[in-house]
């Protein structure tokens, strides 16, 4: 087998693109969990909706750029509705209950997608501007995939700036540390929770919209992704955004490289890494033990 750098590098880049999708999903999950201790099972279904909405708006507006800009916001808006009308009823109950409810919701969303768009998936071409490959000097790589990497990096920087440089970001960070104290200061945390849930779901929608031109849109696309995102969070440390980023990129590489070396093991390796982390450092790479346990 050719294991020269020239053969491995494309896999590293493919792994990087997958890692970016993991990061977008896991950051959203982790943000929601850190603040609200809610695990959103429907995150995968929202990722799926992101891809379908992109196809939908592309058909109607004939512009990929409009579709890409609109779809994540629609998914984010659905997230707002989910928090306001479903999750909010469960605050104060067992933390298992939101997980159960969003599991049911994800079934409903998947079946609804099959009802509307059919059982067989839809395909989606990257925009013409990004259709070709870019010569990176050492290899050629599809332009669209480079675009996915760039968008993710820009969004992550924007999110980081929002959380550390704005007042709302400050309240979010304070709220995940000590919600009672934040409330005592006269801040309405309900609105913050609503906002954060919407942002998290919007990120899932963005991941789905970006994934569409690479992987197509099909009803079951989200479930494997959400389970793998759970793994990312366990490896990175729940509630830690840095952990989600590092672990997402790491697991992207694990999948990318094993796909090359032993394709059959690619799906399994993610879980092997998780088991190793559980043995060596149960709280995850950047996790604090005891958070919401």
């Amino acid at each position: 087998m050719d294991v020269s750098l020239a053969a491995v590098l494309p896999q590293v880049f493919t792994g990087l693109v997958l890692g970016m999708l993991f990061v977008l999903l896991a950051v959203g999950l982790s943000l929601i969990f850190g603040l609200m201790t809610v695990v959103n099972f429907s995150h995968g279904a929202l990722y799926m909706l992101g891809a379908y909405f992109t196809v939908f708006f592309l058909t109607y507006t004939r512009s990929f750029w409009v579709a890409l800009a609109v779809a994540p916001f629609i998914v984010g808006a659905i997230g707002l509705l989910i928090e306001r009308f479903l999750i909010r009823r469960l605050y104060g109950r067992s933390p298992d209950d939101p997980l159960l409810l969003t599991f049911g919701l994800s079934l409903v969303l998947i079946e609804t997608a099959k009802l509307i768009w059919g059982k067989i998936g839809l395909t989606l071409d990257p925009p013409r501007e990004l259709g070709g490959a870019v010569n990176l000097g050492f290899m050629a790589f599809p332009a669209y995939r480079l675009f996915v990497i760039a968008v993710t990096i820009v969004v992550l920087i924007a999110l980081w700036a929002f959380l550390t440089r704005t007042n709302v970001g400050l309240i979010i960070r304070a709220g995940s540390r000590d919600p009672l104290m934040v409330r005592a200061l006269g801040i309405d945390l309900n609105r913050i929770w609503l906002l954060v849930f919407g942002i998290g779901c919007g990120l899932a929608g963005l991941a789905g919209a970006l994934a569409g031109p690479m992987r197509g849109a099909y009803a079951d696309m989200g479930v494997t992704m959400v389970i793998e995102s759970f793994v990312v969070i366990v490896v990175g440390g729940m509630g830690s955004l840095l952990g989600a980023v590092v672990a997402g990129l790491l697991l992207g590489q694990v999948v990318g490289v094993t796909t090359f070396l032993a394709p059959k093991l690619a799906e399994i390796m993610v879980f092997v890494v998780m088991a190793l982390v559980l043995l060596i450092r149960p709280s995850g790479i950047f996790g604090e033990a005891g958070l919401a346990e």
């Binding site: 479903l86 298992d96 209950d97 997980l99 409810l101 599991f103 079934l107 389970i227 092997v272 559980l278």
Partner: protein
């Protein structure tokens, strides 16, 4: 009604026997009755862990699937000549799986536990998918013979669906009696103490991680037995046995029926399967309806059908709270 609920609470195992002895004649067809019985057993195992110990497993497909593959591989690949040995191989494999996976999953508590169990079940799904030589992979494990039962020289052919039902009935009844025995033991009391307050149980001197692990293994045994029986019922093990959908099914069934109640899992399995069977006539998208009903139950009826019913009936409180 008071007399009925009093009987149910005092003799749940006998009540189970009476009801399920006539059950196939209440169902539209016999195969559905066997399915309710087997999935009820699966849900019973899940309920031991979630309803009584307070641990939400989102990966119980792993033990049901290991049970199905254990029995299936023993009979179809290893050509075991005894039905009983073949059936026993299922729960045995599930128990081995639960010992190992439980060790990993119990390293984290709370909501992480649910995510980890789901992840490990998905791992097994991919392993079964790729080990096609042993498991049949995507095509499923085929060619499981349904050997006749040899009862004191009297051969019973299980190909008859009513004969199979009563074969499954005897095994599930024994499992229900076993569960009752576990719940009535001091160990069962500790399980419920952990569910109510783990820290307090720990402060009383119980090694709660060991107790949880043991509960996990018992739970997997029941799920594995259900898997083994289902392998016999279907004569095939589809790889979807290990898929997250199967894990989700048992969660839905148990919560519909009533988690933490003795009869809840069977009520839930019956409701789910009969409803699914009827809805499938109208639409292929019947899980949509089940999903909506499930969401409504989580929001408004968290005690499930049986849990709510026993709360409302005179003298029912005792039947619901205590098995």
């Amino acid at each position: 009604m008071g007399a009925v609920t009093a009987f149910l609470s005092r003799h749940p195992v006998a009540a189970f026997g009476v009801f399920f002895a006539v059950f196939p004649f209440l169902m539209p067809y016999k195969a559905l009755a066997s399915q309710v019985l087997i999935f009820g057993l699966f849900a019973l195992g899940f309920n031991l862990l979630y309803g009584y110990t307070g641990l939400l497993s989102f990966g119980h497909a792993a033990y049901y699937g290991l049970g199905a593959y254990g029995t299936g591989i023993a009979l179809a690949k290893l050509k075991v000549s005894s039905l009983w040995l073949g059936l026993a191989a299922g729960p045995l494999l599930a128990v081995v799986g639960a010992v190992i996976i439980g060790f990993f999953c119990l390293r984290r508590r709370g909501i992480y536990f649910a995510m980890l169990t789901l992840a490990f079940a998905q791992l097994l799904y991919f392993v079964a998918f790729h080990m096609a030589d042993l498991t049949g992979g995507d095509d499923g494990l085929r060619g499981i013979p349904l050997l006749p039962v040899n009862l004191f020289g009297w051969k019973i052919d299980l190909e008859n669906s009513l004969a199979f039902y009563y074969f499954a009935f005897v095994i599930v009844w024994a499992a229900v009696a076993g569960l009752k025995r576990i719940l009535d033991s001091p160990f069962g009391t500790v399980l419920q103490a952990i569910r109510e307050n783990g820290d307090r149980a720990s402060a009383c001197g119980y090694d709660i991680n060991r107790v949880k692990h043991l509960s996990f293994v018992f739970s997997a045994f029941f799920a594995g037995l259900a898997g083994g029986l289902d392998a016999l019922r279907l004569a095939v093990v589809p790889v979807e046995s290990l898929y997250w959908v199967t894990s989700g099914q048992v969660v839905i069934m148990t919560l519909l029926g009533g988690a933490g109640t003795f009869f809840g899992p069977f009520v839930g399995a019956g409701t789910y399967l009969v409803l699914g069977d009827r809805l499938a006539v109208f639409t292929e998208r019947w899980p949509l309806v089940i999903g909506l009903i499930f969401m409504a139950f989580v929001l408004f009826l968290p005690k499930g059908i049986w849990g709510t019913l026993v709360d409302k009936l005179p003298g029912g409180q005792a039947a619901g709270a205590k098995p």
